[in-house]
Symmetry: C2
Subunit: 429 residues, 2 copies
């Protein structure tokens, strides 16, 4: 029975220093809940000149992570440096030495989660990664334990606060994408180089981690159809509103039999869907399972405190397991039957905005090409503007196959009276 757990933190930024502060401020509360004293023993960072919420005493500080990996007293390594290397080696080496690892490294895990879970398994250690996705929302815990009896059929996430903030601003304040991005940067909600967020790749990395876990199969962002939000215009948001939808960047994984389709793209979602109400920098994960039905979890997706809450939960879980003399490892079994669906076989509904000169035959020609590609139209909205100039024609389709839609739009965009590439946004829910 282990009554004192020693912790080393590698990477001492906002989440790291928040975690250190909480471990100290709440030390007695944690001890009363668990019977364990959680002791922060060493902190590693390569730059000790920056200001932090709490500065560890000199004896606790190091700039060499091997001081933590080689310390036999340290039970838990908290990896918060991010990126691929040296994080990958740190985690592997820790697990092989039977140190438990807690990490928030979404980039690394979106590539190596199955390998690291398998390593944790074989070395009887433990990998905690709740903080790597959706901040304080306990999606990994809930999939692993609360919904373990379920077959997961659908995961739809709003997993990136930056893009959700931008789309919310465009919708509420009628800002252009560019203006909304600038104000997000000013408020610290977007980085100076926002491409990882804007492009949808950040969301894809997070959903890769959740999906790997939910579907028991190695999944990386390379398996996703990924579209960013750069092309969304205010008028798309406004047309969507008229049709009863909001526009959100969604990360979607759907399972049909043993086929999983994965995609991240902006989507129209009906205003009566709970996900449509997730505004600003908040995150949400919507799940469907064969037993629990439909569920949604909503919360803060980023920020030092929310991420620290998830790091602390993993630390305490590991502590409890050590205290209870459990073997740490859990079984992570790869399901060989699960296959990934090619992106061009996706089936969904589509919002199409054509920009055409307002001639009598336009609608008929578009409908004809759509029909030949087996795409049927659910509704049409045409704003009568200036008949001399190009006008928007907005259509919602019934369920169609991605490849057919791409083929049809490619043909339509070659018509002489189409004046701009057609806007394609998928519809969800």
């Amino acid at each position: 029975m282990k009554e004192k757990i020693s912790i080393g933190i590698i990477g001492y930024g906002t989440v790291g220093s928040n975690t250190a502060v909480i471990l100290q401020e709440k030390n007695k509360i944690f001890a009363s809940h668990t019977g364990i004293e959680f002791q922060l023993k060493k902190v590693c960072d390569n730059d000790w000149s920056r200001k932090r919420e709490w500065m560890p005493p000199a004896a606790m500080r190091t700039s060499n992570y091997n001081d933590i990996l080689n310390d036999p007293e340290i039970d838990i390594v908290v990896e918060l440096i991010g990126k691929f290397q040296p994080a990958y080696n740190i985690i592997k080496k820790s697990l092989m030495q039977k140190k438990a690892v807690v990490t928030a490294n979404k980039f690394l895990l979106s590539k190596k989660l199955t390998e690291l879970l398998t390593l944790a398994n074989t070395s009887s250690s433990y990998l905690g990664f709740e903080a790597s996705v959706a901040g304080a929302i306990p999606v990994i815990k809930v999939l692993r334990e609360s919904f373990v009896g379920n077959r997961i059929n659908s995961i739809i996430g709003i997993l990136n606060g930056t893009t959700n903030y931008i789309l919310s601003s465009m919708s509420e304040k009628h800002q252009t994408f560019g203006d909304a991005l600038k104000s997000a940067q000013k408020l610290g909600y977007a980085e100076s180089n926002p491409s990882l967020d804007i492009s949808g790749r950040d969301s894809a990395q997070k959903l890769a981690i959740i999906s790997t876990y939910a579907f028991q199969r190695a999944i990386s962002e390379d398996n996703f159809l990924i579209e960013g939000i750069e092309k969304i215009e205010i008028r798309d948001i406004e047309f969507a509103r008229e049709l009863g939808y909001r526009v959100k960047l969604l990360a979607i994984a759907k399972r049909t039999d043993d086929m999983v389709s994965l995609r991240v793209h902006p989507a129209l979602i009906p205003v009566n869907h709970m996900l449509s109400d997730v505004e600003g920098v908040y995150n949400a994960v919507y799940l469907e399972g064969d037993l629990f039905g439909k569920t949604l979890m909503y919360g803060e997706g980023a920020g030092g405190k929310a991420a620290s809450s998830a790091v602390i939960a993993d630390i305490i879980e590991i502590g409890r397991k050590l205290f209870l003399k459990s073997h740490l490892s859990e079984r992570f079994i790869i399901n060989p039957r699960v296959n990934l669906q090619p992106a061009d076989r996706i089936e969904t509904r589509y919002y199409l905005r054509f920009t055409a000169i307002d001639r009598p035959r336009v609608l008929a020609s578009i409908a004809d090409i759509l029909g030949k590609n087996r795409i049927s139209i659910a509704s049409v909205m045409q704003k009568e503007e200036n008949p001399e100039r190009a006008v928007p024609i907005v259509m919602l389709t019934h369920t169609a196959i991605e490849k057919n839609v791409r083929d049809a739009i490619s043909a339509i965009d070659k018509l002489s009276y189409i004046r701009q590439p057609t806007q394609i946004i998928r519809v969800e829910g």
Copy 2:
């Protein structure tokens, strides 16, 4: 290392038979996740004539629960009979014999949770009770593990599907309370005697369980201010809508310093609050903590499958612990500092609907009495109808103290030009 876990179910209704079916259909999946064979060994019910989804073979059936309690091979007792006795004795006896218990019995737990958790503790056994509140929503798991580092400051739940369905119907279909109740009964969403749901007591029992856990203190429904939804009229829902609110039956627990206030009542909640979008028979739990910030979990609150999902999660958790040679018990520590706030000290905002003869001095008199009771008015809405007849005057107050509001309304209702008792609905969020 225990590789086979034997289970006995006592009380074989919808949840019980769903659980039995899942344990058999998913047996191999659970074994691959956990390395454990979960075997249903005995099922007890006192009426075997009713039809079930799956009927156990004769050798598995019994009508004497002692056949399960006295079977040394049975590791987990699943208690699904409900009510107080014999459930209370069954659970106590099981825990004392170091059998783990899984229960969905909200009535019993709302009275005896601290006692039973303490007994599980001292007897090194385990009590799983996720299914007792909010169906498949994993609120107990998340409080116990994911948010363990947090101080919980606020819990607001929509915990009763029947009343939420009735209020949704009143709002969407403009039905009276009576008509909405009848249609809920026809659809099987309300029982023929709906008083437990309608009165708010069911919600109070569920929040008592969640709060006991969140605040580490024995809390029963007797500690709640409880008001039901019987008095809500369509016009209150419509006035609320005009003011930007929806009306929901909320179960609220708030902690300020070491004082916890507990109440269940209909409340106005702003349309932009996530809880306002929870419609029909769905449940939701909104939490605030010092680290994770704000979070909401939404899902199916009732139904055999959703409840079974929670029962199965507890069974598998117990199985994993047994498999990993863990001691089963967890520490449940009572926090002696937490006190309960008397109901008349609650502070919140209020919706007040006066029914008054439309005389020039009415508003001034009402405002005068409110002011003397230190209640300040945030907004007033008066519909000019027939000056000869009683008209509704709707007010929203700023934050006021419950006792002051009761005193003021009691004085106002004695005024000669007030023609009906004033409608009081609290405002949340």
